[in-house]
């Protein structure tokens, strides 16, 4: 724990002694941390009273892992890392030519995504592919799209938004309620949901224009919570915590439907066996198209005056103002554009689930989306996509790890640990790579050639 004294100790025995000392200390600290929470468990007995359940073996494992881990860290891993760092800095820096795979990464990724459902069907069969297309494909792509949408606000304009899920909720409820009340189709409501969410983005963005940094984050968090609380309590319209169910499915531009009873049912039109997998595959392409639209718009906007203004605003607001950029409209367009994509994603979410309730729009969702943006490297579309795959895909993968049951016993449920691991991963990645997975910025404007700017040279604005 005490890494304050970082003096080099040359003698190996000295190092081992220190490692032992620190290992014991770490063990004692972890004993203090875990003795009440891991050593004892509060459970309800038959009379519904709380009783304690003792788990000293588990506590011993926790303490042993901490102590041994710390010992190994100090005695072996850290000296080795330092030696490697020393030898790496001794070598001259050579410019590495990027390989074919790296240069064409996004093209390869898009090509893979286009054939992904077919691969899943080919390997797992029509019914078996459901899980892979739905749980992994659609789930990850929703987060990719949301994170790309939020990236416009946070990554480009530098406005820290902790309430992004509010716009997701606006989009979802717009589709859910309008389609039920007025029977409008998905394709008519998708743009409408985007417009409504953008409108809310402006309404919520307007009062917070003067705020900066952390304060802005907290106010947006408050707005996100207010919208959720209104959704819970305004029961006449939203049906409160029960949520809106029976939301109609989307159709392929009104030509083919996915309702089994309809005359233009998709499977019937193509003479395929009945399966719910076609709808999921259709949804997969739908969210892929929406996500790519978000990416395309972001890339194009970055080259337009408004995009340049966003990035300038992120770097230095005062300089922006003194150069005559209207910071009010610049910030509002960022909020509105980001919110619009959140609204699109929201109406897609409603169509996919067929059910929306305030439960889906808690603060945790905002935190997840924001963490994906930051872990991805703020502003880097590829980095954000990688972060979404790692964080969302990784935790989804945990559901599949049934073999863990063989190790930890039959009542071990890996799903329980999903958010715990997510939180820990957020901390670990942040400490290990504070600039995110792709920590460099491609400049939009350049003199002779485009050179990636290492993120250690860039500072965030205080917008």
């Amino acid at each position: 724990m005490s890494n304050i004294s970082n003096t080099h100790e040359s003698a190996g025995g000295n190092l081992t002694a220190r490692a032992l000392r620190e290992g014991v200390f770490a063990g004692l600290v972890s004993l203090g941390l875990f003795v009440l929470f891991v050593g004892l468990e509060t459970t309800q007995n038959i009379r519904n009273e709380l009783v304690l359940n003792q788990r000293w073996g588990l506590l011993a494992i926790f303490v042993a892992v901490a102590a041994v881990g710390r010992f190994l860290m100090v005695a072996y891993i850290r000296p080795r890392l330092e030696a490697r760092k020393a030898s790496a800095s001794a070598k001259p820096v050579t410019e590495e030519q990027e390989g074919f795979f790296r240069r064409n990464f996004s093209k390869i990724a898009i090509a893979f995504l286009l054939v992904y459902p077919f691969i899943a069907v080919a390997i797992f069969g029509v019914q078996g592919s459901l899980k892979w297309v739905d749980n992994f494909g659609i789930q990850i792509l929703i987060y990719v799209m949301l994170a790309w949408g939020l990236n416009i606000v946070v990554g480009l304009a530098g406005l820290l938004d902790l309430g992004y899920v509010a716009f997701y909720a606006v989009g979802a409820y717009s589709y859910a309620l309008l389609s039920q009340q007025f029977g409008l189709s998905f394709w008519a409501l998708l743009p409408l949901a985007g417009i409504l969410a953008a409108f809310w983005g402006i309404i919520l963005g307007f009062p917070v224009l003067r705020l900066k940094g952390d304060y802005l984050a907290i106010v947006t968090l408050a707005f996100g919570e207010i919208i959720r609380l209104v959704l819970i309590n305004w029961t006449d319209v939203t049906r409160g915590t029960f949520g809106v169910s029976g939301i109609p499915k989307a159709s392929v531009f009104g030509i083919w439907s996915f309702d089994v009873g309809a005359p233009n049912y998709f499977a019937k039109a193509f003479g395929l066996p009945m399966s719910s997998a076609y709808y999921k595959i259709f949804l997969f392409y739908l969210i892929l198209a929406l996500a790519l639209l978000t990416a395309y718009v972001t890339i194009r906007l970055r080259r337009m005056p408004i995009g340049r203004a966003w990035e300038a605003l992120r770097e230095d607001e005062i300089a922006c103002r003194s150069l005559g950029i209207n910071t009010v409209t610049t910030k509002l367009t960022a909020f509105a554009t980001g919110a619009m994509f959140g609204g699109f994603a929201g109406s897609f979410f409603a169509v996919r689930q067929g059910f929306v309730s305030p439960e889906s729009f808690v603060f945790l969702e905002s935190a997840i989306i924001l963490s994906i943006v930051v872990l991805g490297g703020m502003g880097s579309l590829v980095g954000i996509a990688i972060a979404a795959v790692v964080m969302v895909g990784g935790t989804e993968l945990l559901r599949e790890m049934t073999f863990l049951k063989a190790i930890f016993g039959p009542d071990f449920t890996p799903e329980l640990y999903r958010m715990l691991i997510f939180g820990l991963a957020m901390v670990v990645v942040m400490v290990w790579k504070p600039r995110g997975f792709v920590g460099s910025r491609e400049p939009t404007a350049f003199l002779k050639e485009r050179k990636a700017v290492s993120s250690s040279f860039t500072t965030e604005g205080h917008g």
């Binding site: 724990m1 468990e41 009783v51 940094g213 304060y215 919570e225 963490s371």
Partner: protein, 300 residues
């Protein structure tokens, strides 16, 4: 009138709890300029430590006097929460000091998710009710004041007095105030800045743990998600009072407690959290420096 005074008493009780949590936010923000998002979960962790200590004590020593029981619970909660906050600061926040602005906030959010899910995994997701510890209610001029409320308010006053003394009259407090004003200069003058920051986290966590214990005693139930809403409200209190200002945090806590109980008494209870969040937004928009805070000067 009696109804109004009754709500006033309830509000001040709640406000004491918020005020104690808010001090942790305001101190950490003052000294390293970061919103310690996990502070609400430290409060929840303190509540759970108190709960488990309560269960140990009541099952081992039957018929222990309530005063002793509460005292041991508070001490256990303070120790556990302080150790947690100290470890978290060392492992998760210290490596990111001096990194870009968003990094500590994201780490703190990650830590908050980790802590609440750690408790969910180890202690289960259900509500944890305990039998009432103190149930006497006194009737003063037609207003019902329970012993619980008296304990909470008296304890808050005592803790604030100790805390005020430490910050204003001791060498440790001087070091803290110096670090808050100018970290580099303080280090040059021989103040161990790392240690001062660690102590700040420990102090904040101890007060939050006391608040957690009293929250458990007052409501008689706790659950792993209990960190979020009281945490955000305490943060609102810190902002309302002026973030970085210690008397401001207590004042803000009292105001938030009063607003919440009066709103529930005279308007709909459903929207009481909306009221708190709206106040947060309104204060930040119109007077970001809060009631007692110093206005921030923007340097170019």
């Amino acid at each position: 009138m009696e109804y109004f005074v009754q709500q006033l008493v309830n509000g001040l009780t709640l406000g004491s709890i918020y005020g104690l949590i808010a001090i942790g936010y305001t101190m950490v923000y003052g000294i390293i300029g970061m919103i310690n998002f996990a502070h609400g979960d430290i409060f929840m962790l303190g509540g759970f430590a108190a709960l488990i200590t309560f269960l140990i004590l009541t099952s081992v020593f039957v018929g222990l006097p309530v005063v002793l029981l509460l005292l041991v619970m508070i001490i256990a909660a303070m120790l556990t929460a302080s150790l947690w906050n100290w470890t978290i600061e060392k492992m998760a926040y210290r490596p990111l000091r001096g990194s870009f602005r968003l990094a500590p906030l994201i780490t703190a959010i990650g830590m908050s998710i980790t802590l609440s899910n750690f408790i969910q995994v180890t202690q289960g997701p259900r509500n944890k009710p305990i039998p009432p510890m103190v149930s006497s209610v006194y009737n003063v001029f037609g207003i019902a004041i329970s012993l619980k409320q008296i304990i909470i308010m008296v304890l808050t006053v005592v803790l604030l007095a100790i805390f005020w003394y430490v910050v204003n009259k001791t060498a440790l407090g001087r070091a803290q105030r110096a670090t808050e004003q100018d970290r580099k200069m303080a280090a040059l003058l021989g103040i161990d800045v790392d240690r001062t920051i660690s102590v700040t986290f420990i102090m904040g966590a101890s007060l939050a743990a006391v608040a957690g214990t009293m929250y458990l005693m007052y409501y008689g139930v706790t659950v792993f998600t209990d960190g979020f809403i009281p945490g955000v409200k305490a943060f609102t209190a810190a902002v309302l009072g002026g973030i970085g200002s210690l008397p401001g945090a207590v004042l803000g806590g009292m105001l938030i407690g009063l607003i919440e109980s009066l709103w529930s008494a005279y308007f709909t209870i459903d929207y009481k959290d909306v009221a708190t969040f709206s106040i947060l937004a309104i204060v930040l928009i119109f007077k970001p420096s809060g009631i007692l805070g110093r206005p921030e000067v923007e340097k170019v």
